[in-house]
Symmetry: C2
Subunit: 362 residues, 2 copies
């Protein structure tokens, strides 16, 4: 099985040192060694989330983390607004509906960002308990201005829940400073680790909301998980994905050694470089450039090409894996992920492979 360069929305590339840890014998989760490692991970995560509150580690994908927030913060019939700009906004709406919330979908359109004026108008008059929003929409390569969105939510006393599954640790997000009530992320995007863990942090207001929530939860009980984190020997209610915890502890050490600001800067450079390059090839971005993500670039496929053929060519000939569009964008776009562990060499190879595919298939 030939190893691919994964330039996708995740799983992303895992650095050698992190893979080594992931492939070690898992620690037992009721031992001093684990307590120390888990403590260190929590400390790292708080720095990355930019919060003074505890970060909860769940053995699940990012979707599980999103569900945990819904199940813990809300009660049947709670009115929430989901500001959607693509696939993962719609997923958040689906989860809220599955749990019996009175959820309203405000669809800003695939390829757009949240329109702040429209949002303000909704929040002013809607009597919503919370706003659910995606930070970085991987289905369209768009980043929402979460800082301004949070400002509006706070202005009207609406709690704000941010799906930062593909953004945290890659682009700035200041949970406490921006007044965000819940942030969710996972192991396999900007955190440079194998998939299998999600991470959730709540504000004090959100922990209060959790006290009155009537929705069923056991595995995803954030209160019970927080009790574990707060122990002198911190642990988890059930056996966690210890190997992946070991991997993320290592990966977050690496990120913090590099410095978050340096990571943000490098991601911004990568984003700019990819956008310039695709324009130089005569290709067009899906979103307007000012809202384009620095973590993943969505590119319109001109009529004369087939998305699937560009993707296969890059994969078969160059060993570089990119992805196509989802839902209404299937066949219409290709997406290059450049989040997490991406070296200059990987990025250069990807752009050259794209050029070659365009030249050959056009």
């Amino acid at each position: 099985m030939k190893e691919m360069i994964l330039m996708t929305p995740g799983p992303t590339m895992v650095p050698e040192d992190v893979k080594k840890v992931a492939g070690a014998q898992p620690l037992h989760h009721r031992t001093e060694d684990f307590y120390e490692l888990f403590s260190n991970l929590n400390k790292n995560l708080k720095e990355i989330f930019k919060t003074k509150n505890e970060v909860i580690t769940l053995t699940s994908s990012g979707t599980g983390g999103m569900e945990a927030v819904i199940a813990n913060l809300f009660s049947t019939g709670d009115k929430v607004l989901v500001a959607s700009i693509g696939y993962f906004g719609e997923r958040f709406y689906d989860i809220a509906r599955a749990y019996g919330l009175d959820a309203e979908l405000q669809d800003f359109g695939w390829g757009n960002a949240v329109d702040l004026d429209v949002l303000e108008d909704k929040l002013k008059n809607g009597n919503y308990k919370a706003l659910l929003v995606t930070h970085n929409e991987t289905s369209t390569g768009v980043t929402n201005n979460v800082k301004e969105i949070a400002k509006i939510a706070n202005k009207y006393g609406v709690a704000i829940v941010v799906d930062a599954v593909s953004s945290l640790g890659g682009i700035p997000l200041e949970m406490d400073e921006w007044g965000i009530d819940a942030v969710i992320t996972c192991s396999q995007k900007c955190l440079m680790s194998p998939p299998g863990l999600s991470f959730v942090a709540l504000s004090e207001r959100a922990w209060k909301m959790a006290e009155t929530s009537n929705l069923p939860k056991y595995y995803f009980s954030l209160k019970k998980a927080r009790e574990g984190v707060l122990k002198p020997n911190p642990d988890t209610p059930a056996t966690p994905a210890v190997s992946t915890i070991m991997a993320v502890a290592k990966a977050t050490n690496m990120l913090l050694e590099l410095g978050l600001d340096n990571v943000y800067k490098r991601q911004a450079e990568y984003g700019k470089r990819v956008r310039e390059y695709i324009k130089s090839l005569g290709l067009e971005l899906l979103p307007e450039e000012k809202i384009a993500s620095d973590l993943i670039t969505a590119i319109k496929v001109p009529e004369k090409y087939k998305a699937s053929e560009i993707i296969s060519h890059m994969k078969e000939k160059h060993g570089v894996l990119i992805t196509g569009g989802q839902g209404p964008l299937k066949g219409k776009i290709i997406r290059i992920g450049h989040m997490g562990y991406v070296t200059e060499k990987m990025l250069t190879k990807t752009l050259e492979a794209l050029k070659d595919a365009i030249d050959k298939e056009g």
Copy 2:
């Protein structure tokens, strides 16, 4: 960090070849390589579950798998009986209660097995929709006679859900043959892999029950997961723990190459050997020998010893990790796990370490 020999109820030891896979770059989960691997895993799991129905892979611990079964099969107020013989029976009851079932706890006592006559009496008169039961109770080292329990449940038309988290792949369980409606297991016990995945199989009757369930689920929707498994290119609704799937695919290949009957035989020998040895040391089993588990042995700690000191001695001096008791058995027992990947050498070392601890600490 010194690597321990884990003789615990899990995480258990992971063979070198499985660790190698777990530490490789995760595949992308929407690629041919993954589809092939996931297909192979499903085939292996069906052989190990002894079922013709699909086995669902969830990114969660075993507790998540137990919750998935509750959330998918039942509706608010459904009357179920939980036949508990220890910590994990009580957990099943707690999950059922958290989901609003009319759950009744029939506690057979920590250290006992389910009494078949008492059970029959309950099921005959109780009008239960389902019986929830633990196959192998790791908290007490007791194995229930699930074959006979299932016979009784089927006699009275009560669906039977079996927590086989610590038993499947280690001791016989014939899902279809014995008429079991739901079986749950996970990656880090007898399946010799890192923690992070649970596996659930349902009978046709259980899939029918799932059609009318009104409990909220999204991440744990078994119907949606089955749609993924049944695709020509089988996949999962959200990004799964790909590395762990790669590991379990490898580990289940190894188990099936060895032959399940040989695995069962070896486990039975290990169980017997541990029991004989502890008796030769003058120690006493917690349960009666006829219900003692071949996967984990619970040993009463005589007054003159301290459980914690035996455990530390074995850990510090011999690098062998065993565990103490939970709940009412804390400080009263020690437990040696001998499930999953255990070599003759590991077992011998463990027994010698125990003898040394007994000699030194007594």
